[in-house]
């Protein structure tokens, strides 16, 4: 009895084995199969048996070889390479154009990928970065909702007691003002980057110790951990353990701190930046009140690490229970806690003023990603359309190959080789370019992207994979088309060939137009939005306004003396002070209560509070909307008057300002007492922070013990002279102050650092994109024009003018660009509308922008194409036609 080996076995075997082995393998299988058949095995067992042996015959090397040489031998592959190189050498212009476009595209993508990698690398270097969280607080009060990370300090101990999944918990506190550290009588430093933290913070985060021991470094009052560069600055040595210095709190007597450890400077890619850590325990002794065991003070960041198998939702819900048990919730407000992974903080930052270090915005990341994809698509399309246009020229070459005996697959692989080689060359060029330019990019954008980020094999493999895919995809179409040419057709007349894929070329050119219009439009719009935000009127005069902190109570007590002396200078317009800077950190808020005019019901308004000196609002040149400014001549202004901004009035529901004057407003004062104030004036809204956030309600009242931030309005052409005068006066009256001034407009500008970087990045990206698009378009025009030289020549002989010919041939592009505009403009509009929705203050998208951008693109196309065609149509038709 005989049986037949199933057909699928033979097919599979052919697929996996080399030609030479196929017969032997098949013979073996057949023999074993027959043997088993004689033993009368069941079909299931037979199938299993066949599968097992088939599988055992699989050789990965053979499979790989087969994949790469479909219908090819190794020598063919070598031949393809040689032929491609020769082709590149012969058509240098074409090869160079394609190469430039591809490498520009890949370069852009690489840079964006690098940037994205950097942005996503934030806080991922900590040992347990995936299980470290920061608590967030979401508060809903009436129609007002906000999210921050400020929580009471006792939460830590209470939560740890009940929630077993919490492995570590560290509280962190950062004051608004710079810390004042006195090394000795002569040397005092203002250190803005200092925090207070529990000892466990050093275990949560990855910090490298240089000197001392970290395990107990922050467990006692007076313990201080500093970074290497701070140690060098303070003591001239990194080995500073056990050195002591004075910490000046400003509201309490000085505290002696002892350095317990010196750590390496922090890497740039963490949201939590600091140079000095005071132990949290110090806060208990160094503050004039108990602010640590108080559930009502929401002022502390909480970082925690969860156990490996902890359930996030369950921990969150128990956290909320702990909080609710300890904090009496107000009737109309609801507070919920949640945990934010530490790796998310950088891209989803808290409100302005509450940041602990650098922050970014994932919207930018999305936008850049979007541009990267478009650029990649554009450069691929450039290649495809160029290759297809040029294929007409190569029709003869391909025909010749075929006559000599090349098969379709050989022609296919030959052209595939070319495109793969180009993309590989381009990716190498791109990597070289990036390495060359990276330092410049870092410098220009104040980034610290390390080339190491790409100098690892994963990145290389990924990048080359992208390049290969681009090469494959863009090579696919031309290769298929070229290999499908009928020999006789192409030998006889090369022109037939191009007609075949004119349709697809149109689509590609159209897609490219659409892509570049979208990139250009959206870049211009993003650019406009960023400028709008940055240059909009803040509502107060930030020019020629000098600000400096007055530091300690000792200096604040000399305020009046300072004022009289400073205002004697002719350059000083006015000198005043307030409890906080505009655009400064951590704008303090307070709940103000006022009775509703009609119902008499008490209403709470959560508002930013400024303790000010009489002249503060005048110094800012804020505009009065109603009532009057504070006046030193009216003694009741000191304790019984309040001014608010329009946002406050809106929140309170008071639309008639004049009628509202005299309204009683009360506010918490000195921890428990209440201050009863009378509304004397309303100022027009001015921005307390950057334009990215909306104007919040603000209230101003006189608080002489809070004159912590001095504001000097000057009017001078000689800034240096004025500054020296001010500095000398301040130093003579308050020698204890480390005079450290800045300009209000710089302070505001610093809020837009990130945005300005983005503006510049966008600028360059747009240039590159337009360059790629223009290059592609231009070369396309050149090739098409050259192809149709004969037609032009004949037209000219028959009497057409150069101009009419140029117009006729440009018409093809004009049609496409018009169509492209029709598709791209609504798309760009829709995309950008969506993007802009994330801003509190957004410009209106103006139609002029679209018209201007469309117009300039149109002009660009017209000029580049028209010039090219015109140049050819100007040549003497004899020269063209003689060649035929």
């Amino acid at each position: 009895m005989k049986t037949k080996l199933p057909l699928w076995v033979i097919r599979l075997l052919r697929l996996i084995s080399q030609k030479e082995d196929f017969e032997y393998f098949l013979g073996d299988l057949e023999e074993m199969y027959q043997e088993r058949y004689r033993q009368k095995k069941g079909t299931g067992a037979m199938r299993l048996f066949l599968l097992r042996h088939l599988f055992s015959l699989v050789d990965l090397r053979v499979i790989l070889k087969k994949l790469f040489f479909v219908g090819q031998t190794e020598s063919m592959w070598r031949f393809n390479l040689k032929l491609s190189l020769r082709n590149f050498a012969r058509h240098r212009g074409y090869a160079l154009t394609s190469l430039t476009m591809l490498s520009l595209g890949l370069f852009t993508v690489l840079v964006i990928a690098l940037f994205a990698t950097y942005e996503l690398s934030f806080d991922r270097y900590h040992e347990h970065s995936e299980s470290i969280y920061r608590t967030q607080r979401h508060v809903e009060t009436g129609d007002d909702t906000f999210t921050d990370a400020m929580l009471p300090a006792p939460l830590a101990a209470a939560a740890q007691l009940e929630i077993g999944e919490i492995e570590r918990w560290a509280r962190l506190c950062k004051f608004r003002e710079a810390g004042i550290f006195r090394i000795d009588e002569q040397t005092t430093y203002n250190e803005p980057r200092y925090i207070w933290a529990d000892n466990d913070l050093l275990k949560l985060l990855k910090v490298e110790v240089l000197d001392g021991e970290l395990s107990e470094a922050l467990s006692d009052p007076g313990d201080l951990v500093i970074t290497e560069s701070t140690a060098l600055k303070f003591f001239g040595t990194a080995y500073a353990v056990n050195k002591t210095l004075e910490f000046r709190t400003g509201f309490h007597e000085d505290v002696t701190m002892r350095v317990t450890a010196v750590i390496k400077d922090l890497p740039p890619n963490t949201h939590l930046q600091f140079d000095l850590i005071n132990s949290f325990k110090t806060l208990e002794t160094a503050h004039f009140r108990d602010i640590i065991n108080n559930w009502d003070i929401n002022y502390y960041y909480h970082y925690l690490q969860l156990g490996r198998h902890a359930d996030l939702a369950s921990v969150e819900s128990r956290l909320n229970t702990v909080l609710a048990r300890n904090v009496e919730s107000e009737a109309d407000s609801k507070t919920t806690l949640s945990l934010q992974p530490i790796t998310d903080i950088y891209l989803n930052p808290l409100g302005e003023g509450w940041l602990l270090g650098p922050s970014s915005d994932k919207r930018y990341l999305y936008f850049f990603f979007f541009i990267a994809v478009l650029v990649l698509v554009m450069s691929a399309i450039n290649y495809v359309s160029l290759a297809t246009v040029r294929s007409a020229k190569r029709a003869g070459e391909i025909g010749m190959h075929k006559v000599i005996g090349a098969s379709g697959s050989q022609v296919f692989w030959q052209h595939m080789t070319e495109s793969l080689m180009l993309s590989l060359l381009a990716s190498m060029a791109a990597i070289g370019l990036v390495n060359l330019i990276l330092p410049t990019i870092n410098q220009a954008f104040d980034l610290s992207i390390n080339a190491d980020l790409i100098m690892n094999w994963e990145f290389f493999v990924g990048f080359f994979a992208v390049a290969l895919v681009i090469g494959l995809l863009s090579g696919l179409y031309p290769s298929i088309i070229l290999s499908s040419y009928k020999t006789t057709e192409v030998i006889k007349a090369g022109r037939h060939a191009t007609l075949k894929f004119r349709g697809l070329r149109n689509v590609l050119v159209l897609v490219q137009f659409v892509a570049s219009i979208i990139v250009l439009m959206s870049s211009v719009l993003v650019y406009q939005q960023l400028r709008y935000v940055r240059q909009a009127d803040l509502g107060f005069d930030q020019e020629q306004l000098i600000i400096f902190p007055l530091g300690t109570l000792e200096t604040i007590s000399k305020f009046d003396l300072l004022k009289t002396n400073l205002e004697q200078h002719s350059s000083v317009v006015s000198f005043s002070a307030a409890s906080q800077f505009i655009g400064g950190n951590q704008l303090f808020k307070e709940t103000f209560e006022l009775a509703d005019a009609e119902t008499g019901e008490i209403k709470g308004i959560n508002s930013v509070r400024f303790g000010v000196e009489h002249d503060f609002l005048r110094t800012l040149s804020a505009t009065l909307a109603a009532g009057r400014h504070f006046n030193r001549q009216i003694p009741t202004d000191l304790n019984e008057a309040i001014m608010v901004n329009e946002a406050f009035m809106r929140q309170a529901g008071l639309s008639d300002y004049e009628a509202a004057l005299g309204q009683q407003i009360s506010v918490d004062f000195n921890w428990g007492e209440r201050l009863e104030l009378k509304l004397i004036g309303v100022v027009e809204d001015f921005h307390l922070q950057s334009m990215k956030s909306a104007v919040e309600p603000a209230a101003f009242y006189i608080r002489p013990d809070e004159y912590m931030r001095a504001h000097v309005k000057i009017n001078t052409t000689d800034m240096r002279q004025a500054l020296t005068e001010i500095e000398n006066t301040v130093k003579s009256i308050a020698p204890e102050l480390a005079f450290d001034f800045s300009f209000q407009d710089d302070q505001i500008a610093s809020l837009y650092q990130m945005d300005r970087k983005m503006e510049r990045a966008l600028y360059y990206l747009t240039i590159i994109t337009v360059l790629i698009a223009a290059l592609g378009l231009f070369s396309l025009a050149v090739f098409i024009a050259q192809q149709q030289r004969k037609e032009m020549g004949i037209r000219k002989v028959l009497g057409a003018s150069s101009k009419s010919i140029a117009l006729k041939f440009s018409w093809y592009f004009i049609k496409l660009i018009l169509l492209g505009l029709v598709v791209a403009v609504p798309l760009a509009f829709w995309l950008m509308q969506d993007w802009l929705n994330g801003f509190a203050f957004r410009m209106k998208i103006r139609p002029e922008t679209f018209i201007l951008v469309s117009g300039s693109i149109f002009l660009l196309v017209l000029v580049s194409v028209g010039l090219q065609v015109y140049r050819i149509s100007k040549t003497n038709p004899v020269n063209i036609l003689r060649n035929q």
Binding site: L5, D21, E23, Y24, F25, L26, G27, D28, L29, E30, E31, M32, Q34, E35, R52, H53, F55, S56, L57, V58, D59
Partner: protein, 105 residues
Amino acid sequence: MKGTYLGEFEELVLLVVGVLGEDAYSVSIKTEIEQRTQRNPSIGALHSSLKRLEDKGFVTSYAGHGSEDRGGRKKRLYHITAAGKQALSKSHELRTTLFQLLPGS
């Protein structure tokens, strides 16, 4: 010389090739191994072992005629070389020497 080491399975296959003499090819080797040991090697494992043995110069191969059972397809016959025999006896010697050194035997 590079790679003259004999793996355990390779040694077994080489021995069987020697034993079978003129009729050593993949399926017959497989059957022999199945009968002598309790193993059931896959055909692929045999082919790769044979290939390696051939690369090391321990066996030579030549094409043989097909039988009816094979659907008339050729088989690749293997023959042990002098180097193969030497490798086998070397390995045998080593084992015997070591075995004699085993205490209590």
